[in-house]
């Protein structure tokens, strides 16, 4: 009595999981109605804290954008795994016969899609609220794309790690934020180059151009996507 008609396919399974998560988000709109306003609120509060000086805001814009993205990504990952915690859905997903690497890529893909949408709005918020000038739209978009892949992959790994624990809501930020610090650093530097922000304005260090920092983002994304594909099955078993 076979229960399968074909061999497992990682990409097919990733699509099935990703479509499921995005369908649920379209219905519940938790990320759009709660996480996105939270990210915008972070931008507004930082603007209030830094005062009305335009140069200060422009200098700080890249760093504040990535801080808002990082905080929002924690919430997006928490939401992604809270879907699996209601009514035993996590066990249902494990029993569904999906390839663990496909589940990882699917969940990370859905988180990345939601983060991408958030970044578009938060990026517009930076331009409007802080009056930042965009010198290289391609540089901004490229940094966002690569950083989003890395953030979603790392978030999905640590989300799975925390998923089985009672203290997952408080543990996840504690685990994830230090790990994604390279994204904050490299994303900020890449954006400083693309926005033409004054050197040292956001953190005291010279920007030194965006390319080396793009390399950091690419390596970060590759490492965490590879780790997730290889280890997600073990994480599911251990959680």
């Amino acid at each position: 009595m076979p229960t399968m008609t074909t061999e497992p396919s990682v990409w097919r399974d990733a699509w099935v999981v990703s479509a499921k998560d995005l369908r649920i988000e379209m219905r519940s709109r938790v990320v759009m109605n709660q996480v996105l306003p939270f990210g915008l609120l972070v931008l507004v509060l930082f603007a209030l804290a830094l005062g009305p000086g335009r140069q200060t805001l422009i200098g700080a814009a890249p760093g504040l954008f990535w801080v808002a993205v990082l905080f929002s990504s924690v919430l997006a990952v928490q939401r992604s795994f809270s879907l699996e915690s209601s009514d035993g859905a996590r066990d249902g997903l494990r029993l569904a016969g999906l390839d663990p690497a496909g589940v990882f890529l699917g969940k990370a893909g859905a988180v990345a899609a939601q983060l991408g949408a958030l970044e578009v709005v938060l990026g517009a918020g930076v331009v409007v609220l802080y009056g930042a000038d965009v010198r290289s739209l391609l540089g901004l978009v490229a940094a966002c794309l690569v950083a989003t892949v890395g953030l979603a992959a790392a978030g999905t790994i640590y989300g799975a790690l925390a998923a089985g624990l009672r203290v997952r809501e408080t543990l996840l930020p504690f685990l994830l934020l230090p790990v994604v610090a390279p994204v904050l650093l490299a994303g900020t530097r890449a954006w400083q180059a693309a926005l033409g922000s004054p050197p040292g304005a956001a953190g005291g260090a010279s920007t030194g151009g965006g390319d080396p920092w793009m390399g950091v983002l690419v390596v970060f994304a590759l490492v965490y996507v590879s780790l997730g594909v290889l280890l997600y099955g073990y994480l599911e078993e251990a959680a």
Partner: protein, 237 residues
């Protein structure tokens, strides 16, 4: 043919507590076994272990010929479980949930629709968000997913809970059909009366161990008999 379930001195830990403390059990293919016992006897842990949802902590344990220490992923693809939880997503409709699990299990498109029709999950109910369903309706959806998958081992935890009389009757028919088709069925219940008419054997659990076994007269003429395998496991099939 290897047994559907073969446990010998199987241990399963929840935290540090041995919820299964050396359980011995053999379930043959095509057999329906009811596991009874008080709360905390280890019935649900037994089912979760057999589903590949938890790793054994000791002893020997295999399901459908796959070692539970190494091949739990293979086991999970081949078993179906109806647990206390429905495993469904509240923000998707009944039909969307069934289609998701059908796609995940690579089932032919018509398989899940047929199961849904059989469980009365078509029309308005099919379009309803699972979060708005009653406990009994959720259980019917979970049962439809299980039926569509046609698993080789059915693991049913208190399957009659929350079900109305008609669905209980249908559950009995589905279990009988599955057993006739060669699937093994393991039913856990602390009130086994509803399941006994379906069962070939009644197994008693207490303190994480199998403490009694009884063949049921409706299916066998010899009453209470237990057979002990050379390796220490107990079987009557």
């Amino acid at each position: 043919m290897v047994p559907a379930v073969h446990l010998r001195s199987a241990i399963a830990l929840t935290g540090r507590f041995p919820a299964l403390a050396g359980a011995d059990l053999v379930v043959e293919r095509g057999e329906v076994v009811v596991v009874e016992g008080p709360n905390g006897a280890g019935k649900t842990t037994l089912l979760r272990l057999c589903a590949g949802l938890m790793a054994p902590g000791g002893g020997k344990a295999s399901v459908l010929g796959f070692d539970l220490f190494k091949d739990r992923g293979e086991v999970r693809r081949r078993v179906g479980m109806l647990g206390h939880a429905s495993f469904l997503y509240d923000d998707m409709s009944v039909t969307e949930n069934m289609r998701f699990f059908a796609r995940a299990a690579r089932l032919p498109a018509g398989e899940v629709e047929a199961a849904g029709e059989r469980l009365g999950l078509v029309g308005r109910v099919g379009r309803t968000m699972v979060g708005r369903l009653s406990a009994g309706q959720r259980r019917r959806v979970a049962l439809a997913v299980l039926v569509a998958r046609r698993p080789e081992l059915w693991l049913l935890d208190e399957p009659h809970a929350s079900l109305d009389a008609a669905t209980r009757q249908l559950l009995g028919i589905l279990v009988s059909e599955a057993a006739r088709a060669g699937a093994a069925v393991l039913i856990a219940s602390h009130e086994p009366e509803a399941s006994l008419p379906l069962a070939d054997r009644l197994v008693g659990m207490s303190g994480g161990r199998v403490v009694s076994e009884r063949l049921l007269s409706a299916h066998h003429d010899d009453g209470a008999v237990s057979a002990h395998h050379d390796d220490g496991a107990v079987s009557v099939a």
